[in-house]
Amino acid sequence: MYQYDAIDKDILADRSAEFRGQVARRLAGELNEDQFKPLRLRNGLYLQLHAYMLRVAIPYGSLNPAQLRKLAWIARTYDKGYGHFTTRTNLQFHWIKLADAPDIMDHLASVDMHAIQTSGNCVRNVTADPYAGATAEEIDDPRVWAEAMRQWSTVHPEFSWLPRKFKIAVTAAPKDRTAAKVHDIGLVLKRARDGSLGFEVMVGGGLGRMPYIASTIREFLPVNRLFSYLEAILRVYNRHGRRDNIHKARIKVLVATLGAEEFARQVEAEWEKVGTGPDLPDTELARIRGAFAPKTFGTLSPRSDAFETARAGQPAFARFARNNLKPHKVPGYGIVEVSLKGIGETPGDASAEQMEVVADLAERYGQNDIRVTHEQNLVLPHVKLDDVPAVWAALDAVGLATPNMNLVSDIIACPGLDYCALANARAIPVAQHIAEKFRDPERAERVGELKIKISGCINACGHHHVGHIGILGVDKKGEEFYQLTLGGSGAEDAAVGQALGPALPYDRVADAVDTLVEVYLRERKDGERFLDTFRRTGVAPFKEAVYADAN
């Protein structure tokens, strides 16, 4: 993976020292809270219900073992022994003391980590395909471009005070594992007939109060013009974004207001003015690309006797292999998905011990490579099939081998009202209750792919709009209620879910999901996912079943 150079390290050291001074001035009363709040937020430090929350950046969801071990050490030393992986592929610590925050920043910097641009109206952490460099589907390594965008956007003075936060995703595979179409900018790498690389550029996707699927404003942008084009987009946004109204300030509203065609025209006009200046020199691109050069893989048989023996002899391993092991581009290797969705556990949470086990496994079996997914799981992208049984056993020993990837209990949930100052309702216990309903792995497999996403408020950190089943916590006359939506997708077939009907009280949500699944099992035709059946039947049979009691 990419190694920070002297410039990167200087930026982190400077920022850490600056923040230490700001915290000292706040504690001494030289800064009041109104003055200090934007400063701490620019370093990822929020004040939540119980304590400060520190959101640590994990650029394009890529970690090495030393970094994950450091996160585990911080969790144990400064928090309550765990961290929470988010849909932005970052890690949140929920029990941080302000007085400790400067030391934590220094510890993060010691492993080339930080919390810069994890909050505020700037370009946030870029999302990339967690299978990058490992999947045969990709036509280029999206991390190369994500890293180049990290360098370009980090403390970029022109784009440090945008109308609102700004999120970019990049993928190079037809199967979208980044939710690109609900980002402010979604980039899909493509290869032209002449073999040249380019991006399909999609703009104006987003969730929150007003969900939009992104519009394509350029079918093919040559890769060597990426940065001038991004600058043109951001300049149009900076100029016309609704700074007067926080609810209309995201680029999606500008794109929707102008229309994608007019927005594209303005971007093209601005692009002409920007010229080629900002684009990345080939030498720098080559340097970055070198950091992601293909790993040295052994020449292995596509069939592993050790793997096949374990699969034949251990049903639990066979189930894990069916659900959590994905094809690798190199014969004899696999991509191992590490579930942070143990039944009854908190989606996305990992204990310090679990983080250390994953770090050890990455070091011993996984070419020092760990990824975080936007669906709040971890990935070991390069594991020999021979080693998968040992990896599985080690994961299983610490509760990380739940065989539920993309199944009903692989639920995205934001921290919700248990932690977050913005939330209207709890999300975590709702996810736990649903997962308990589908504790039987055979039933979960019989149901097949089903993505449930839960947000505790309209800000939609839990991506509920794009859940096959989306669940949104609302405050209804002072009580927690939950609006269900069906038919959303954050993948390449992106769609915003359709409301099921009136909101349900807290204690009816898990039963309602159970009912929805039963309707699907009754209605589905061969090979249909929940999403496919819903798209064929529409909302009626689902609605009828869930609200039958009320009629």
């Binding site: 219900l49 304590a51 941080i96 302000l98 908190t346 009580e479 927690e480």
Partner: protein, 121 residues
Amino acid sequence: MKALTANRLIDGEVVFWKDGEWVERFADAQLFDEAAQEAAEAAEAHGKNQPTVVVEPYLIDLVDAGGLWAPLSFRERIRALGPQNHPSHGKQAEGGAVVEALLHADGAARSTGRVNLIKRK
């Protein structure tokens, strides 16, 4: 009935007002009845004058929960107790009659005091 709450500046800890001091447990909080409305507002004003001690002090409404007082809003009960997904975290781990009363109280999800503070990230 009301109580005054805030987060402590240095560590974010949830704290409650008690006779001129900030204490960590809701069980120890000073309770202000209707007759003490002025005293409650004076305490809030005093807290707002302690910017190096606490952040955003505000008054919360309380309800009778089985003979003991509990915050009306669910958000405030979670603040006083800790997150439900980790019962060993937060003050709920200490147990006691007041914690039990809070665990079994019901009422509004939104804070009665903080509504205007939570509209923006």
